[in-house]
């Protein structure tokens, strides 16, 4: 469901397409043997190939291509058995060869789609135009010296997947859902760690606006957005800017723009405007990349279960709601944790505990399941105590809070605090007798036909038992006793 924008001249609609650069998980770079590790001494992870030294030649790291194929399969793309590496020529200090090796006319993956979950619970399919493999550039630091920029080539040559969507998104929220879903997918496929802070995923947003039903307008590309939140803000700002221009009778120039987070505005990137003519041509240092369908089939066979499939399974086999299933699969670790808890137990009960109790506490504590103080085994044990009537669900919440705090096992806490549920009918009858003796007036009213007071007696009995009385037993015994 798209969001519309009210302008002075009518209602406008967002048109958004995204290009996501996802860093491939690999040990060494796309065309050299230097390490891809993040954050090291400047230029320490650089081979002469990555530094564009004279006479140096690229040799492809096939593991990177395997990752691209995996990702292509994960986004339902078509894997091209022949693809070609091209040179994209432009000058920039962090581009030591004077060109980036990329794929232009024949990418390794064409087509595909990603289904996103919208807030109203419906799904929307976003088309993917292509996925191609290319080299990352180095990094320029501008704040070390007032008159100079410093260049570190450690990132130079690291393998990237550029995933280009169709212009199918109609709101910043849809764009955000797309990026999050893509991130989930690549993390499941283990082809990119999706770490936006470290720049493992960067987004270029192509934004235009149009009046509903009209042709697409001229778009602007906002470069290098490295958080979903900033991306949303940038898109919003850019759309408003375009509407202002258009409504004032102006026209949009196709431009590359930059989002200034501090000023919350986009502005034109001068350097990119000049370098428009990239003079792509097939890299003569590399032959066309060809592989067999059998290799693709082998990769497909080894694919892990992906989020969509997992979600469908959770709904169909476990009977979970779409909402719960979606929450659980968003992070593979979460889904994994849940499945561990749910194994051999009531699936819905497990889902409730994981989502409302565990995630709730983790959120508050700013933790993830990976550093959760309550392990899947420990949570499972707690759920078992509920299921076998050792404790009530209400008591269990207190026990869980204690577990989260102390790291102790549920059984230990129940034992220590004497929280075991009372199921002994004699003991419960004694409590009921005590309550009935204490409340003769209420008893008379009840017996006089005021049925509603049943709840009052339940509450009193539970309270008197310190919450430990088995609610089912209380219910049954109370009914007969009150009757007299």
């Amino acid at each position: 469901m798209g969001i519309t924008l009210e302008g002075a001249t009518g209602t406008w609609e967002y048109v958004i397409g995204l290009e996501v650069h996802a860093q491939i998980i690999s040990n060494s770079k796309l065309f050299s043997g230097a390490s891809t590790e993040f954050g090291s001494e400047p230029n320490s992870q650089v081979s002469p190939v990555d530094a564009g030294m004279p006479g140096m030649l690229p040799v492809i790291n096939l593991a990177c291509i395997e990752q691209a194929v995996k990702t292509g399969l994960a986004i339902n793309g078509e894997i091209n058995l022949t693809s070609v590496f091209d040179r994209k020529n432009y000058f920039y200090p962090d581009l030591p060869q004077g060109y980036q090796i990329s794929q232009f006319k024949q990418p390794v993956v064409t087509g595909g789609h990603i289904d996103i979950e919208l807030e109203d619970g419906t799904q929307k399919r976003i088309g993917v135009e292509r996925l191609h493999v290319e080299q990352d550039a180095g990094k320029s630091l501008h704040d070390q010296d007032p008159n100079a920029s410093y260049v570190d080539l450690n990132r130079s040559g690291v393998g990237l997947m550029e995933i280009v969507s169709d212009p199918d998104m109609r709101s910043p929220e849809e764009a955000a859902a797309y990026v999050r879903k893509l991130r989930t997918i690549v993390r499941y496929a283990e082809t990119c760690d999706g770490n936006m802070q470290e720049g493992s995923m960067r987004v270029d947003a192509n934004v235009s606006v149009r009046k509903a039903g009209e042709e697409f307008g001229t778009r602007c590309e906002i470069k290098n957005l490295n958080s979903v939140r900033y991306m949303q803000r940038a898109i919003e700002f850019e759309a408003m800017r375009q509407i202002d221009v258009l409504e004032a009778g102006g026209k949009i120039d196709q431009q590359t723009r930059l989002f200034d987070v501090a000023k919350n505005e986009t502005r034109s990137m001068r350097s990119k405007e000049e370098a428009h003519d990239y003079r792509y041509f097939p890299d003569p240092d590399l032959l066309p990349l060809r592989f067999e369908q059998a290799w693709v089939d082998e990769i497909a066979a080894g694919m892990p279960e992906l989020p969509d499939a997992k979600m469908a399974r959770f709904m169909k086999e476990f009977g979970l709601s779409a909402y719960d299933a979606d929450v659980l699969v968003a992070e593979q670790e979460n889904a994994h944790f849940y499945e561990h808890v749910a194994e051999g137990r009531d699936k819905k009960l497990a889902a409730n505990w994981v989502i409302s109790e565990l995630f709730g506490q983790l959120n508050k504590a700013g933790k993830t399941v990976e550093d959760s103080p309550v392990s899947a085994e420990a949570l499972g044990e707690l759920i078992d105590l509920i299921t076998d009537d050792t404790i009530s669900g209400r008591i269990a919440k207190d026990v869980f809070a204690d577990m989260f705090e102390s790291g102790k096992a549920a059984g230990v806490i129940v034992e220590e605090k004497g929280l075991k549920q009372v199921t002994d009918t004699g003991a419960i009858e004694a409590v009921i007798d005590e309550v009935m003796a204490r409340e003769p007036e209420k008893l008379a009213e009840y017996r006089g036909g005021k049925d509603k007071l049943f709840g009052f007696f339940i509450g009193q009995v539970m309270k008197a038992s310190g919450g430990k009385a088995n609610p089912k037993a209380v219910n049954e015994l109370l009914k007969t006793k009150l009757q007299g």
Partner: protein, 489 residues
């Protein structure tokens, strides 16, 4: 003993093996010659200390019974090969002071086989030229002079310094690189043998790139046998070069004397170009006769797209060069002309660092790749290239090798070379098709012009069939009995 600078590699190898000669003596003789002939400007960098050190190390290895294919043989290295810690210039101002921290694969192979490096030879800037006239370090001079004429002649290009060093008896052999004729044309101009191997035979790793899909390293020597020996030491599959062929390197010397009996040699009718001197035509006919006399059959063949080879080359090579030379930007190595503005720094550095011919080609290459022109120029040229390669494939149905002149003329004056770039480009008319098709080709000295200048014949072979090319080259060498030597110096 004969003059040590006159020895062929094969002769030196035998003397070294017998213990009649040490590499140190042999190397010292070349060093003396090199230092005595500086007016030929064959070397950009002389490395006599390194040479003598390497020679000594070789003699030590030999004493221990360890000998490689080029054990103890002093050679010169075209200054397009990156040599560890030794200034590497590509003949360009823009690589000022560049000392690589790595060694090219070809020189690594040669050094592993015992070769001794005398120095880095002069060349056209970034290997772009046919006369050695575009070097930032001034052109190398051809040791040959025309009869009764004192003018300096060009040694050809781009491997002109290597040609001059080998013809001028300063090195027993030298490496060259050949993108459109840069080994074969200077070899023909200086009366030596030059072999461009099949594309992919020698690794390109560590050789400053001119046009990646065309560049190929090869030997320049004073005999066909020496080229066979040297190629054996240079060649080999290199996992660092994606276009290096994973094909066994045969013993090229073996079968060198097998003769041409039973071979069918193609004579392409399109290689008779307008304005070609009578002497070249006569030499070609002579070559045909020599091969026939030795039992080969010659047939006229057609390579119909030959005339399009040069124009296709002058799109493909500059296009690739425009991109390959983008890394010379004043940031990582070489020359920088300072400016506060980055773009201005780039523009000034490259304006000052590149010479006129390099600029011309970079600009042409930039133009033909730019938006709107790619299909009409680059794509069309690559299609024509397919046609040219197909012409050769067609020919191989019928013939084992092809015989042509190496160049359309003998060496020209260094003082008044053709001023029109197009006229200069015509020098490579017979050599360029071979590069476009990736085939092996050899230039063998076969005769003298009336002015007493050497002329060469070219043998073109099937891909990776350098053995046949060398065998035919040997037959031509035997028949020609070319023993003239430069009198100029």
């Amino acid at each position: 003993m004969t003059d040590l600078t006159d020895l062929s590699i094969a002769q030196a190898r035998d003397l070294l093996a017998k213990g009649d000669l040490s590499s140190k003596e042999l190397t010292q003789a070349q060093v003396t010659s090199m230092e005595g002939k500086r007016e030929l400007n064959a070397f950009i960098t002389e490395t006599p200390d390194k040479a003598l050190e390497m020679a000594e190390a070789s003699d030590t290895r030999r004493a221990k019974g360890e000998t490689g294919k080029l054990e103890g043989i002093p050679v010169a290295i075209k200054d397009l090969f990156c040599t560890k810690d030794v200034l590497t210039t590509a003949g360009s101002h823009i690589l000022d002071g560049f000392r690589p921290f790595y060694e090219s694969s070809v020189t690594t192979n040669m050094f592993r086989e015992g070769a001794v490096m005398l120095g880095k030879t002069n060349l056209d800037e970034f290997a772009m030229g046919s006369g050695n006239l575009t070097s930032y370090y001034g052109g190398a001079i051809n040791p040959w002079r025309a009869k009764g004429d004192n003018r300096n002649l060009v040694p050809g290009g781009s491997s002109g310094g290597s040609a001059s060093a080998v013809a001028g008896r300063m090195a027993l052999g030298a490496t060259g690189t050949d993108t459109g004729g840069s080994i074969r044309q200077p070899a023909a101009f200086t009366g030596i043998v030059g072999l461009k191997p099949t594309y992919g035979r020698c690794s390109r790793w560590g050789i400053v790139a001119f046009a990646s899909s065309l560049d190929q390293a090869g030997p320049m020597t004073r005999s066909v046998r020496d080229s066979a020996i040297m190629l054996g030491a240079m060649a080999g599959h290199d996992p660092k070069d994606s276009t290096s062929a994973d094909i066994a390197v045969p013993d090229f010397e073996e079968g060198l004397n097998g003769g041409v009996k039973g071979l069918t040699i193609g004579i392409p009718k399109e290689y008779r170009v307008d304005g070609m001197p009578e002497e070249i035509e006569t030499l070609w006919q002579q070559g045909i006769k020599w091969l026939e006399e030795q039992g080969a059959r010659t047939v006229e063949i057609s390579l119909p797209h030959t005339k399009y080879a040069l124009p296709a080359y002058y799109i493909v090579a500059p296009a690739e060069a425009s991109s390959n030379l983008a890394r010379y930007d004043g940031v990582k190595f070489g020359l920088r002309v300072e400016s506060d503005d980055l773009t201005e720094m780039y523009e000034k550095t490259r304006a000052e660092g590149f010479g006129a011919e390099v600029k011309r080609r970079v600009l042409i290459g930039t133009y033909v790749l730019s938006a709107g022109y790619y299909d009409a120029y680059y794509l069309q040229a690559q299609k024509v290239r397919t046609r040219i390669a197909d012409d050769f494939k067609q020919a191989w149905q019928q013939v084992d090798a092809i015989l042509t002149p190496a160049t359309p003329s003998a060496a020209f004056s260094a003082d008044d070379p053709p001023s029109d770039p197009l006229a200069m480009y015509l020098n490579d008319v017979f050599t360029v098709p071979v590069n476009l098709a990736g085939l092996p080709g050899i230039s063998v000295p076969a005769g003298l012009t009336g002015d007493g200048l050497p002329m060469g014949l070219q043998v073109i072979g099937k891909a990776f069939d350098e053995a046949t090319v060398l065998r035919i080259g040997q037959s031509l060498e035997d028949a020609a009995g070319f023993d003239a030597r430069p009198e100029g110096y």
